[in-house]
């Protein structure tokens, strides 16, 4: 079973239909055509570039290049986590906590999955390592960013409650306990929802891709379950680490709430 080859002119047909859609929305003055065309162009350019990078990487297939690529992905994800927070920790802590949390969870789980469960030869074979890490990082990034944003923003809003609890002699962990739980929840909810809806409401993209590429559905399902679990692990441990470190950073050695360590929101 081979994959049916897809030529560029065939893609151009699909692109033409997107242009037609943009033309229709423009004709009806719905004002979405510009966004639509820009996004479509970005998709083509970004994916074509990634394709080139992956082709080169698969050809080289040394640990050195795979690690470099992984590091690049991690740093971009770390930047993204920082950018998605309204009141981020200052002094590089927002980037640091997010990046370290993602590194600890995503990298550990990916390496473990590759080396122990899937077992390609060699274990860092880029055809397996890079897509797996990409899916892990993408989801962990969302979880960590949501959780840290919720943590710092809620701490800011509920500063008086937290301080009142400290005054009553509670430890900082107890004083911020409800907020930590909420942050953890907002970080994990997307993944829990995705697992609950998988196959019933939505057919996961990776499984669909594998089936299109000719895999038997039973195998595609197994891979999808594995990926769902590893993503949940990565997101869960990443969010856990980020919430633990982030909430610790909200207090100093004398357990005082230090909201001066948060940046004011922009705009």
């Amino acid at each position: 079973m081979g994959v049916i080859e897809l030529a560029w002119w065939q893609l151009a047909l699909a692109a033409l239909m997107v242009v037609a859609l943009a033309g229709c929305t423009a004709a009806m003055r719905l004002g979405m055509s510009r966004h639509l065309l820009i996004a479509a162009t970005r998709t083509v350019v970004q994916l074509a570039l990634v394709g080139l990078v992956l082709e080169a990487l698969f050809a080289a297939a040394t640990l050195y290049w795979v690690a470099l690529m992984a590091l690049g992905m991690l740093l971009i994800a770390g930047r993204e986590v920082m950018a998605r927070q309204k009141r981020r920790l200052i002094g590089g802590w927002a980037f640091g906590i997010g990046t370290v949390a993602m590194f600890l969870s995503s990298f550990t789980v990916t390496v473990l999955t590759l080396a122990v469960i899937i077992g390609p030869e060699p274990w860092y074979r880029p055809q397996y390592a890079i897509p797996l890490l990409g899916m892990m990082l993408g989801n962990t990034m969302t979880g960590v960013a949501l959780a840290l944003d919720r943590l710092t923003d809620t701490a800011w809003r509920q500063r008086a409650v937290i301080e009142n609890r400290l005054m009553l002699g509670q430890r900082w962990q107890a004083a911020v306990g409800d907020i930590r739980r909420e942050a953890m929840r907002s970080g994990l909810m997307p993944m829990i929802n995705a697992m609950a809806a998988a196959g019933v409401v939505s057919l996961p993209g990776m499984m669909t891709g594998q089936i299109l590429a000719g895999s038997p559905p039973a195998l595609a399902v197994k891979y999808q379950i594995l990926v769902m679990f590893t993503i949940t692990l990565g997101t869960g441990f990443g969010t856990l680490a980020a919430v633990a470190a982030g909430s610790r950073r909200l207090f100093d050695g004398r357990q005082r709430l230090r909201l001066d360590r948060l940046a004011a929101p922009k705009g």
């Binding site: 008086a160 409650v161 301080e163 009142n164 609890r165 400290l166 005054m167 009553l168 002699g169 509670q170 430890r171 900082w172 409800d178 100093d252 004398r254 357990q255 005082r256 709430l257």
Partner: protein, 204 residues
């Protein structure tokens, strides 16, 4: 049972206020007054170690810095001017409330089943005092404890507080505005003038 400790502040400095040195003996009530923004609340927050400060605070022979912060605050209990509540029901915040105390403050025991959201500011203030006192601290720091109360309720709360303070021999720092109240409760009275704490007569 050892003798109840007194509260010593040794060159305690926070914000604009000049360093404060004073000793509150067991059972004494030291009132603090002064214009708003003069740093009374910040001084109390520093004594409770909620705010970074210079100088030292001692409870008997225990140095503030030698205790974990939460253990210090459990002994040196600050009751802020505005209280905050985090659970839905009043009773969840007051697991050790005595019916007699509730009654003394003008409540029936049913208050424990009330939703926090339906409390008035005066009710919150009285229950916040009870919440702090029922944790059995060693020192009370009161920031305008009767600000939201009418005259009769103020006297009632004062009487309950003073009885408890005398019974437990707590040293108390009490921020107050009302000269009559200061005359009623204060052992000594300190007024903030400019950057300095000056002793003032306790009677109006």
């Amino acid at each position: 049972m050892t003798a109840p400790p007194s509260l010593h502040l040794v060159r305690l400095a926070v914000g604009e206020l000049a360093p404060v040195t004073l000793t509150v003996a067991p059972g004494e009530v030291h009132c603090l007054s002064g214009p708003s923004g003069s740093g009374k609340s910040r001084l109390l927050r520093a004594v409770a170690d909620l705010e970074a400060h210079d100088g030292e605070a001692w409870l008997g022979d225990i140095d503030q810095a030698s205790l974990p912060a939460h253990a210090w605050r459990a002994r040196v209990m600050l009751v802020p001017a505005e209280s905050h509540w985090w659970e839905d029901e009043v009773g969840e915040h007051l697991p050790r409330a005595e019916a007699s105390d509730l009654e003394a403050l003008g409540f029936t025991p049913e208050v424990l089943t009330w939703q926090v959201a339906r409390l008035s500011s005066g009710e919150k203030q009285r229950l916040a005092l009870l919440r702090a006192v029922s944790l059995e601290p060693s020192v009370l720091l009161l920031d305008e404890p009767t600000a939201n109360l009418d005259g009769a309720t103020t006297r009632r709360v004062e009487a309950w507080l003073m009885a408890r303070i005398r019974e437990r021999h707590w040293p108390v720092l009490w921020v107050a505005h009302d000269a009559d109240q200061i005359a009623r409760v204060a052992t000594r009275h300190w007024r903030i003038e400019g950057r300095n704490l000056r002793e003032a007569p306790a009677w109006a």
